[in-house]
């Protein structure tokens, strides 16, 4: 430590190779890439202890009195009976505290999802935040071609773009739906594309038991050997709210649990239609649903990694349409994240939601209104973090790029305030007389390159400069960028033998079944 009355010796500036050296350095210093965010930012609570406790009590009452339906899946009912729950028809009634005990005794507080490239392994839980792209959209849109049904080519493009975008940590799942491939074969092409065109973690198929099995088999080939000690997929199991798990989702969940793969057990609630309209009620219901789903997972395989999910939005009471980016949905993210923290399991929610059809001001506002609560609440796994349009019906190429840029900014927030010596920069004050600018100060020279997040999309130039550059708006700039990223894309290495084996498996499975429409 230098004493306050001492002026530190000025470090001599070194040669950097002049223009050529600097140019090379700037071009190669791409955006800082981290595998996932490790938050130091404290999570914001929207409720006090009494509030959380009340919601937890209400959830237990719902679990016991109303119960949760496990529909069309008798083996789940058997497991519940054995565990001591009361089964009436297909509805399971849980003694108070039962689900919570099962989850807390078995489910890991966090886990590592392994990626093909270990540098892209992600931690899900505790203080981590992982961003994954849009999921499930039947349509895609871009500025050139407008809105259209998505194809396998679009799917691959989105996987490639996600691979190229440093602030997306995870390759996602059904980033868009390849509608041009027969329904019963799509999942093979999707999982293969994630493995082939990216080396980030991915999600498996959930739309049928055998599709989940195929996802596990493909992953076994890709990762080599048994997966019992490695989690390489985190898949999305939605509740059929209110208070119901359906056979399709239970089938897939059971496959993944048995294989020690992670699932997000996710209440998915459009308040008004699928729950009462108030946030406290939605929260109690979602907690009850998530607890019952996660506890089931633990009954299938104690210790299997699960994520507490919540997708909460509201329904326009005037028209019935789903709404996004509303303040109530933001509140729900905070409350649910707090409940998951108290339970001690990883939490999935949020993203960048909007009902807008195009990447316009509505899209940007609504997305930001979801993303900030997501980050401030301390969400661990953020599906739909980039690309979402039209209530999930469409993925926007430009929106993907614009959203990913925002995710970079969130990395800065999540890191919190740098209170190191360098962060405090007291030397800078000591070496700079009052009234003099800091541009030439050593501290500035040492920190300027990474000091401020530099958006690739925002334009901060003068009006004249902007006009000379073609008067482009943000979406048009994003349009240029996704095309450039695709042109520059280079696939990550994949062992030729493994690739051949994957292709064999896909080919074999495809030839075993006729194209089906469902």
């Amino acid at each position: 430590m230098t004493r306050p009355d001492q002026t530190p010796a000025k470090p001599r500036r070194r040669r950097s190779g002049g223009r050529r050296g600097r140019q090379a350095a700037r071009v190669s210093s791409t955006e800082q890439s981290v595998a996932y965010l490790e938050r130091t930012l404290p999570a914001v609570d929207m409720l006090d202890e009494a509030g959380y406790a009340q919601i937890e009590t209400n959830a237990e009452i719902i679990l016991e009195e109303v119960g949760v339906a496990f529909q069309g899946f008798p083996s789940a009912l058997d497991l519940w009976r054995e565990a001591g729950a009361e089964v009436r028809g297909e509805v399971v009634h849980f003694p108070k505290g039962m689900c919570r005990r099962i989850v807390q005794a078995n489910a890991p507080q966090s886990f590592i999802q392994h990626a093909r490239n270990p540098a892209h392994n992600v931690k899900i839980g505790d203080n981590s935040t992982v961003f994954a792209p849009n999921y499930g959209s039947p349509f895609v849109m871009d500025l050139d071609r407008g809105r259209r049904y998505a194809t396998l080519e679009d799917f691959r493009n989105v996987v490639k773009l996600t691979y190229s975008l440093p602030h997306l940590h995870h390759s996602g799942g059904t980033v868009c739906e390849p509608v041009d491939v027969p329904v019963n074969k799509r999942h093979l092409d999707m999982v293969y594309s994630h493995i082939k065109y990216s080396d980030k973690g991915y999600m498996g198929s959930v739309t049928a038991t055998e599709r989940a099995i195929d996802s596990v088999e493909l992953s076994r080939i890709a990762f080599g050997g048994d997966l019992q000690d490695r989690t390489v997929m985190t898949s999305l199991i939605n509740a059929s709210s209110p208070l119901r798990w359906d056979a399709t989702m239970l089938g897939a969940a059971t496959v993944y649990a048995k294989a020690n793969q992670a699932s997000i057990l996710s209440p998915f609630i459009l308040a008004g239609a699928m729950s009462p309209v108030t946030i406290a009620a939605l929260a109690a219901q979602a907690l009850a649903e998530a607890l019952s789903g996660m506890a089931y997972y633990q009954l299938v395989r104690p210790g299997a990694p699960v994520v507490f999910g919540t997708f909460a939005s509201s329904m326009s009471m005037a028209t019935g349409a789903p709404t996004f980016g509303t303040p109530e949905a933001g509140q729900a993210i905070y409350v649910m994240a707090g409940l998951a923290r108290r339970l001690g399991v990883p939490f999935r929610s949020g993203g960048q939601f909007t009902a807008s059809k195009i990447p316009d001001a509505q899209a940007a506002y609504e997305s930001a209104s979801t993303l900030h609560p997501t980050v401030n609440a301390g969400v661990n796994f953020v599906l739909h973090a980039a690309g979402w349009l039209e209530g999930g019906l469409s993925l926007g190429y430009e929106k993907l790029i614009m959203d990913a840029d925002q995710l970079g900014m969130m990395g800065v927030y999540a890191k919190g305030i740098d209170m190191s010596e360098n962060g405090q920069a007291m030397d800078a004050f000591r070496t700079n007389p009052a009234g003099q600018h800091f541009l030439g100060n050593d501290h500035t020279l040492q920190n300027f390159e990474t000091a401020f997040y530099r958006s690739k999309i925002a334009d901060n130039n003068s009006f004249e400069q902007w006009e000379e550059d073609g008067r482009l708006d943000a979406a048009q700039r994003a349009n240029i960028r996704w095309k450039q990223l695709l042109a520059d894309y280079e696939a990550p290495p994949l062992d030729a033998a493994i690739d051949a084996e994957l292709q064999d498996y896909v080919g074999k499975r495809k030839s075993e079944m006729p194209d089906a429409l469902y």
């Binding site: 329904v183 739309t207 009471m317 005037a318 028209t319 019935g320 429409l517 469902y518």
Partner: protein
């Protein structure tokens, strides 16, 4: 406003107080007006009572239906479209309409009057999305249709069984997943194979569909929302009856 406030002309409380109205004391014209208000307010019991009173005064069922209920629901539809009425309110109105229809339907059948129509509707196999389908059923009931709702995850045999049992005018198919949309074609193709396709008007809907998809699978109409579904149903039935 300012005047009203300063003079205290506006009494405290609701301007439209929930007064008890004895429907039997109203003359026909006032009763009709009151019933249209009651439909708007979603008062099922009152609608049932009013329907019975009009019938007891010698109105025939067709007149009660056309002049009072359908007309009342037409206004409900307009205010829903214009964002004045909300979904839960329209649901109550539709239930009131249903209460009236329950009384009128047997009478209409007796007189051989042309019923508004029957709809069999369900979400297709593999799909459990039903919020939209429920809204459609609600609007159809509001328009006076008899609606048979098969629920979710409906396979082609269940549709056909329901068609044979209820002999509806309209078959409505709902799907929200690109993985289940193609099943609509399975249903339509099966109807065709069995020579039943032309017996029904087939309407399809669900967010991931579009006009071209509806055409491609051989549906008679694609409905982008519940209000369109109800109006298209009414129009296509009228067309078909005129053609017959």
């Amino acid at each position: 406003m300012a005047d009203e406030l300063s003079t205290g002309a506006v009494e405290d409380g609701d301007e439209f107080e929930d007064e008890e109205v004895d429907l039997t004391t109203l003359d026909d014209a006032d009763l009709r007006t009151q019933m249209m208000d009651d439909l708007y307010d979603g008062l099922a019991e009152e609608i049932a009572e009013g329907t019975k009173i009009l019938l007891s005064r010698g109105w025939d069922a067709e007149k009660v239906l056309g002049d009072v209920l359908v007309e009342g629901m037409r206004i409900v539809g307009i205010d829903f479209r214009d964002g004045i009425l909300f979904v839960p309110e329209v649901l109550l109105s539709a239930n009131s309409m249903k209460a009236g229809m329950a009384i009128l339907r047997p009478l209409l059948a007796e007189t051989g009057a042309e019923p508004i129509g029957t709809v069999v509707i369900g979400t297709v196999k593999g799909d459990i999305h039903d919020i939209g389908k429920n809204l459609v059923a609600m609007m159809m009931e509001g328009a006076g249709f008899e609606v048979v709702d098969l629920g979710i995850n409906t396979d082609v045999d269940e549709y056909i069984e329901a068609l044979e049992k209820h002999k509806p005018d309209i078959l409505g198919l709902s799907a929200l997943l690109t993985t289940t949309m193609p099943y609509m074609k399975v249903v339509i193709d099966t109807l065709r194979e069995r020579g039943m396709r032309d017996d029904y008007i087939v309407l399809v809907g669900g967010a991931p569909l579009n006009e071209e998809f509806g055409e491609a699978i051989g549906a008679d109409g694609y409905c982008r929302d519940a209000a369109i579904a109800a109006s298209m149903a009414t129009e296509l039935i009228a067309e078909r009856r005129n053609a017959a």
